[in-house]
């Protein structure tokens, strides 16, 4: 009798342990992702100078990456991660379902030609990866719609001065742009569902999030 009791107790504990492990592994896959915001409704310009309506991405999962091409250190890392992601997406057979978008937060310097050459540095495959710019007003719609932090820092006599503290004209003065360093993962309905890191992202983790959004 006692032996039977111990056996069923052991089976019960084993069952609970397996159930717990399954929950830990599967819960992230079945829990719905939050909705942060909607993809801004704006028509931008791609690296070939052609209009690109963000609404045309409906039906696809979008990976959105804010950058500027004069960025010496962070944006190249983020864009290199996007290139790795593009390869992983292709290997996963998702290239036709996932659209990569890199857009500039510095439209005054980043015109289509500059973006095209920037894309060339990273050997970006234009099949599912576009580089977008726009007028300052259009880019402001993106910045506000995505709640991005973007602030120019001018270098005057090697001293960084935020644009909010400038007291004299800035024409021709070199500037960097402090900006949010995250990616925006957008579902097929145009809603932002995940905000993984940008330059510090783990591309395998980002791919898992993309797979989850693709399945939804």
């Amino acid at each position: 009798m006692s032996r039977t009791l111990w056996m069923w107790t052991g089976i019960g504990l084993l069952f609970m342990a397996v159930a717990g492990m399954l929950y830990v592994v599967l819960a992230p896959l079945v829990q719905p992702l939050p909705t942060y915001m909607a993809l801004p409704n704006v028509v931008l310009t791609d690296q070939d100078g052609q209009p690109f309506d963000l609404n045309q991405t409906r039906g696809k999962v979008v990976v959105l990456s804010p950058i500027y091409t004069h960025c010496p250190d962070i944006c190249p890392v983020t864009t290199a991660k996007m290139k790795l992601l593009q390869g992983l997406i292709q290997t996963a057979g998702l290239s036709d379902q996932v659209q990569l978008i890199t857009f500039t937060v510095d439209p005054e310097r980043d015109n289509p030609e500059v973006l095209k050459r920037f894309a060339g540095i990273f050997d970006a495959d234009a099949h599912n990866w576009v580089f977008l710019t726009g007028t300052p007003e259009q880019i402001q719609i993106m910045i506000k719609g995505l709640s991005l932090y973007v602030q120019r820092v001018y270098y005057i006599d090697k001293t960084p001065i935020p644009e909010t503290s400038l007291t004299h004209p800035t024409a021709g003065t070199f500037y960097l742009v402090n900006h949010t360093d995250i990616l925006f993962l957008v579902d097929r309905q145009g809603n932002v569902r995940a905000l993984p890191p940008g330059s510090r992202s783990n591309v395998d983790d980002t791919l898992q999030l993309i797979r989850q959004i693709v399945r939804q």
Binding site: H70, P72, N111, T135, P160, L176, N178, I182
Partner: protein, 169 residues
């Protein structure tokens, strides 16, 4: 007995003095040098002005060229610290040492005017950390190219480097 003890102490002190390393000063060695590919000021055919014609606000002023960053590891095998106080190159109009910092998901660059390399220590310039920023590039920096970069140290003086252009590993 006292004489024997005194002799032992004299020998011990002498040996200790001999074992103390003679100061060699800083011994700076720079390794793992590389810089990012980027676009210089020469825009060539298909100028941005043509592409952006009729689109107000997008001037496409790329005359200054994009920015690049150089990375390396400074090793000091000497017995004294040294200080990196500047850098120069002939391919950029501007050159500054920076440190990237990311706080609350916002990336920013913080200028670094001097950086101590302790005796027996090392300082790494890596992506998302310390880097030498190159601005106003006078030509494209293409993968496979090599540029000249000179680091200026307070005690060791100038150290000239050949910097290969490549993507991140």
């Amino acid at each position: 007995m006292k004489r024997l003890l005194f002799s032992f102490l004299v020998i011990l002190i002498t040996l200790t003095a001999c074992a103390t390393p003679v100061p060699t000063g800083p011994q700076i060695h720079v390794e793992n040098v590389w810089a990012r590919p980027t676009i210089g000021s020469s825009m060539g055919a298909g100028s941005p002005t043509q592409v952006m014609q009729g689109m107000p606000g997008m001037s496409g002023n790329a005359d200054s060229g994009m920015a690049s960053a150089a990375y390396f590891v400074i090793v000091n095998n000497g017995s004294e610290a040294d200080t990196l106080i500047g850098a120069s190159t002939d391919v950029a109009k501007g050159i500054e040492m920076h440190e990237t910092r990311i706080n609350n998901n916002v990336a920013e660059m913080v200028p670094v005017t001097r950086l101590d390399i302790p005796a027996g220590g090392r300082i790494e310039f890596n992506p998302e950390g310390y880097h030498v920023m190159l601005t106003g590039l006078t030509r494209d920096l293409k993968v496979g190219d090599t540029i000249k970069l000179t680091l200026q140290f307070q005690k060791s003086g100038a150290i000239a480097l050949d910097v290969p252009i490549r993507m991140d590993k």
